[in-house]
């Protein structure tokens, strides 16, 4: 985007808003191309997160009550609400940042980008609090997982040295079948792993960590890009003096926000309990 104009017919300009690469015919074509390209990329992200949402929907549809139990017991609706508010606000600051870039108000642009970055930091802080809580409550899926709320907190003595697979292959299938919540599916009880509530909880938390984790990775990537943009701004690189990179990053950031808009009710608001609506 900082390549001189085509054919030498266009006057060289210091205004980065007027430059375009050699394989484009005009600036407008380049702008639209970059926007379409960014949207095409966001479409891939929709499918990327979409698959996770589908997996979540599958399990929630077959275990609706249980997912509500897990969510209510261990996910803080309040912390999730804080995070949602932070991200919505960061979307506002990002939109203002893009607008400032379009109006060539570079000081304002920088200010709003720093604000967005700080919001992202806040989001990660809350996320860290949540994750460390899960760790302390033994809710990280895997060998350390130990669901303990209400019934069936049969903790299993997982041999930490032995690989995970031997434990699965050693499980025996009990002859009696247990029914989950009156649905027509039945599940053979598996000895040695706690009851099915415990096992389903492990799936719930796997989904929770994967979905929020992948989302968190996207937030971190956004933060890295913001740092790069701010550094390039300090160096007055033409890349950031042109509004298009900012606009493209803005699209990405709004998308990250949209994913969270769906994640929050999906994971945190299944069957919340007003009594637990606190920090």
């Amino acid at each position: 985007m900082s390549v001189p104009a085509v054919h030498g017919e266009h006057p060289h300009s210091d205004d980065p808003h007027l430059l375009f690469a050699h394989h484009f015919i005009e600036r407008k074509q380049q702008d639209e191309t970059y926007l379409v390209g960014m949207w095409a990329f966001l479409v891939t992200e929709i499918m990327f997160f979409g698959a996770l949402f589908i997996a979540y929907m599958v399990y929630r549809s077959v275990w609706p009550g249980e997912f509500g139990d897990f969510s209510r017991a261990h996910l803080s609706t309040f912390l999730g609400l804080i995070n949602t508010f932070i991200l919505l606000f960061s979307s506002l600051t990002m939109a203002m940042c893009v607008q400032s870039a379009q109006r060539k108000l570079y000081g304002r642009m920088q200010m709003f980008m720093v604000a967005t970055f700080l919001c992202a930091c806040g989001f990660l802080v809350v996320k860290t609090i949540e994750y460390s809580r899960k760790y302390n409550e033994n809710l990280i899926p895997g060998p350390l997982f130990q669901y303990s709320e209400g019934h069936g907190a049969a903790s299993t003595e997982e041999a930490s040295a032995a690989p995970e697979k031997s434990e699965h292959s050693g499980a025996e299938v009990a002859s009696a079948e247990s029914h989950s919540e009156g649905r027509k599916f039945s599940l053979p009880a598996v000895k040695g792993r706690g009851d099915k509530h415990h096992r389903h909880a492990e799936i719930f938390f796997s989904l929770y960590f994967i979905m929020t984790g992948v989302h968190g990775i996207h937030v971190v990537i956004g933060m890295i890009i913001m740092v790069i943009i701010l550094v390039m701004y300090c160096r007055e690189s033409p890349l950031v003096m042109d509004f298009m990179p900012i606009e493209m990053f803005g699209l990405y950031w709004h998308f990250v926000d949209i994913v969270w808009i769906f994640l929050y009710p999906a994971l945190y608001l299944i069957k919340p309990d007003l009594g637990k609506f606190h920090f």
């Binding site: 191309t33 390209g37 979409g50 996770l52 899926p141 060998p143």
Partner: protein, 573 residues
Amino acid sequence: MSEVQPIEGQNKQEEPNYLNWSYTIKSWLLTVDHKRIAMLYLVSITLFFIVGGVAAMAIRAELVTPKADLFSPDTYNRIFSAHGIVMIFFFLIPSIPATLGNFLIPLMIGAKDLAFPRLNLLSWYVYIAAGTLAVTALVLGGVDTGWTFYTPYSSTYSNGNVVIALFAAFLAGFSSIFTGLNFLVTIHKMRAPGLTWFRLPLFVWATYATSVIMLLGTPVIAITLMLVVAERTLHFGIFNPANGGDPILFQHLFWFYSHPAVYIMILPGFGVISEIIACFSRKRIFGYSFVAMSSLAIALLGFFVWGHHMFTTGQSMYQGMVFSILSFVVAVPSAIKIFNWAATLFKGRVTFHSPMLYAMGFMGLFTIGGLTGLFLSDMAVDIHLQDTYFVVAHFHYVMVGGAIMAFLGGVHFWWPKMTGKMYHEPAAKIAAILTFIGFNATFFPQFVVGYLGMPRRYAVYPEEFQFWHVCSTMGATLLAVGYLLPGIYLTYSLFKGEKAPDNPWGGVGLEWHTTSPPSPHNFDEVPIVTWEAYEYDVDDDGSIYDSPVITGESNSKEREFTAASAAEHPAGD
């Protein structure tokens, strides 16, 4: 490079072209020229084809005898997994789009490059990184899960290098996402003035449809494979039945991409065949708009049929019925193409140069492959044929008899344009025929032995099947010769081949109106297109085009490309 020999009718041969303007390694490895990137891809995918081909020869060698005497069953599992992973992710999916597509799309639409040249280069590097990981996984012993990585075997129980292989597939997926994204935006935004959608060559339509699939399907398998990695490494299991998870969910998510993926592999081939048949029949493709829209229809419908890979898994029977009927429907657009190509040949002035031989082979073999797909779409029949060699034969007919024949046909057709050299035509004809015969000898017996009950992915089988397997292996040897020959004479042509004219076949696409090889920036000026696609039978002075003659003379009419003369050429000229 051989010396430039002035040949009558040649022009602009002293000007640098994209190959010879710089010979440094840096200019190749840091290029953003789509043509050079296409060549980088061509070399890379050929190397992977060799790896996958060696695995194939190992499979056929083992299957000559009913017992697992050449390899242990575990080793055999790793070999066919390697064959599938390498051939699908590292050869078939990138083959036509990343080589021919990269090279031709900007030329065919009159652009100087793709929309995002640096993304194009990144896509190649990601592909190389993925390939390195794949080779690492193979060297470390490979995986025994099959290319389908079904859980919970892949996520929990397998002892192979699953995580490395999954990362390799994941990265290869991103390479194809970047390529698809690039093509989509390019075709939307960078067509030359006057080049409306229905004036585009059918190869561009096919590439567009392929890119839609690449963009929309690949992320799903990317995240699914990462879920398996998470289950395997972090034990974040959602497919683990011991926890109440459903392994079929993995299959749903996997096939949601992998079925459209097979359309990624074949659609560009359809585009190539359209171009070749039009050129060597000297006729516009019959039903051009139907063929164009059928590519889009395949891209759309292909997303609705993934469950036909899962008829016997225990998925809902009602869902299976829906998938069955939709699988029948998705065959219709492909059939439309075959009918239209046949109609194009009718009363065309057909000549049988080597690209045309590959195209003819394609039509026959793809038809067989497509029809046998219908057998498999029928749920009741599929119960008998699922996971047998019938399925193996079906997909090899469409992917090898179809996609690879189309790829070879395209490489031959555009070889003069890409390299500026002519290959030895008689050798090419022999190779095409040998490939066709060898292919049928390899895979037709597999239909029979599959129907008789031979399961796929088995190293051991009952003695009564041995006859068919021996036939198949004999055919495979012939097929290998058929593939080896182009490697020899095409490479030979690079050094000793006759210099190619700008338009040896007399084609009418924009790509034939640049030099062979093209200059680094494709066109000196942006062309303004005022004519319809495939105007083979129209000329300025009313005379019909000559048949393609491979001489030094360019025998295509020259089109005026300046804005000044646009007024003299009203649309439809």
